[in-house]
Symmetry: C2
Subunit: 324 residues, 2 copies
């Protein structure tokens, strides 16, 4: 059995908890939280400890699944935990991945530990698709679409506008853009062509809705480059929508082997729960880290470095006989 | 530069030739054929040799791309060539892969050579999807569809019927089956539910069309379990259709993380030319074999064993910076 620990118990931590519970080859030594452990009743009956107790688990856990956020949690916690533990995380600030990789690689090599970073669906499964598709179809063009799904950053940006009580923002791929890509025309698509943004906003009594709608639609970086629709709804409605954390997306590669022969490669994900699916991907890669560490590997790995066989509970010969 | 040799110059060999020509990090030492070399004018201006000359290239080529058929060519030629060369092949008789693997593994290990087997899109990219999807969504169901594309075996079977001059058969996924899978209903699908078969048949003057249609539709193993349509067309029409070797398919995984939350994962390929696309996949894996061999690896590998990074001409840090 692979022994795992879950660090952090927000939405992602809950998703990981569910996934670890479904993994027949894993047992969970505990959930580790910065909150008071007694305030947490986990969705599966695993022991809950303060993160301060982690030191007592050195040598007793094969891999820690880190369920903090990329903005502030992971850069700090991964570096520290990697001195004593193998780790898996979902660091997803694309622009900062090289720097994050370099800093952790030194720590892992110095301590003989192993870390899989930026695991999930994007970065993660979409990165595999972009690289595999590009390698087998070098003369071609990539398209990545996200959604329909909630953008936390855009929802936050709306909430900062004066008069707004609560808000949720959906990023939605435009059907006509998907159709253009699927037609094999290799279209040039601007930011505005690819996605639109749909906002559901609850405002204070007597707030100037027209001014708020304008403030949203003209907000640079977040909305100005997009077609945006704004719907004013009740606070209860926003709260209800916030309970459903669905997401998804598509990766396309459209290319040619000759002038006459075109090829279209497509990966599509439709996810009812982003944190539960991401937690499930993290758990499969935790299996890989535990195995590779037992084989003596140390350092930092991404999805590009890990053979697919390490993710599956099946043996190599079972995989060849049943899934090849 | 990676030095490759191309063994066999049928449809797949031509596809590989085109792909090697597009690979900036590869050079082709030659195309090796069992035919008289002077009878072949390759689509790219590479030297053509008799396969008997291959011995003169020992030590001068990093990897051979084997472009023979699975039925008779590959089992014999791969075993022999692997004594002296690294190889990549597209062995696709699913049921015989374990046996093929075992027999080649002994030869490769004894000779310090490296072989990637069963490379292409199915087996190959679809195998990656089935395994990755299954690992990240263990509580779920797999669906693989093929087509629209030509089945060579079914076309051959029709041609053996008395009175038939020529024939081509397309395997086509049923839209209602795709819709049922995409709806997330996890339907139980029989063979008949998933695909139908469309036949275009040219017959001799005065042949009994009704009897031929019946012979096709009732043929056990090939057609009896399917909904089949038979179209009688001219010999020229069949020949024209035989020039377009398009194919494709889809891999789905439909699963749940909780009773409420379902997830749908889909890989789809639409290929204008099956041999050109397969040749392109073989070429990407030839890059991996050349690199892994330089790192000292020997033995037999499948798509399950090879990290995605080895397929790309980009460096590891470029991959992390641009495609992760």
């Amino acid at each position: 059995m692979i022994k795992v620990g879950i660090v952090g118990y927000g939405n992602l931590g809950k998703g990981v908890t569910l996934a670890v519970n479904k993994a027949m080859d894993m047992e969970c030594v505990g959930i580790f939280t910065r909150r008071a452990p007694e305030t947490i009743k986990p969705i599966v009956d695993y022991p809950v400890y303060s993160v301060d107790k982690l030191d007592e688990f050195v040598g007793k856990v094969d891999v820690l699944l880190l369920c903090g956020g990329s903005a502030t949690d992971l850069p700090k916690t991964t570096a520290k935990l990697l001195e004593k533990f193998n780790t898996v995380d979902s660091f997803d600030t694309h622009a900062k991945i090289p720097e994050y990789y370099e800093s952790l690689e030194k720590i892992a090599k110095a301590n003989g530990t192993l870390s899989a970073i930026s695991i999930g669906w994007d970065p993660g499964m979409f990165s595999i698709a972009r690289t595999l598709f590009g390698a087998v179809m070098p003369d071609g063009k990539d398209y990545t679409f996200w959604g329909k799904g909630v953008s936390q950053g855009h929802s936050d940006a709306i909430r900062r506008i004066d008069g707004v009580v609560n808000a949720i923002q959906y990023t939605i791929p435009k059907e006509q853009a998907l159709d253009a890509v699927r037609s094999g025309l290799n279209p040039h698509l601007t930011t505005r062509d690819k996605h639109y943004r749909e906002c559901f906003v609850a405002v204070k009594d007597g707030a100037d809705k027209l001014a708020i709608e304008k403030a949203i639609k003209q907000m640079p970086n977040y909305f100005a480059d997009y077609d945006t629709t704004v719907n004013f709804v009740s606070e209860d409605k926003v709260k209800e929508m916030q309970r459903k954390l669905s997401h998804g997306g598509l990766v396309f590669r459209s290319g040619n082997t000759t002038d006459e022969n075109a090829h279209l490669l497509e990966l599509s994900l439709k996810l009812d729960s982003n944190p539960e699916f991401t937690g499930s991907v993290l758990t499969a890669y935790a299996r890989a880290v535990a195995r590779l560490s037992k084989e003596g590997r140390s350092g930092v790995l991404t999805v590009f470095d890990i053979p697919i066989k390490y993710l599956s509970p099946l043996s190599e010969s079972e995989l060849r006989a049943t899934l090849l």
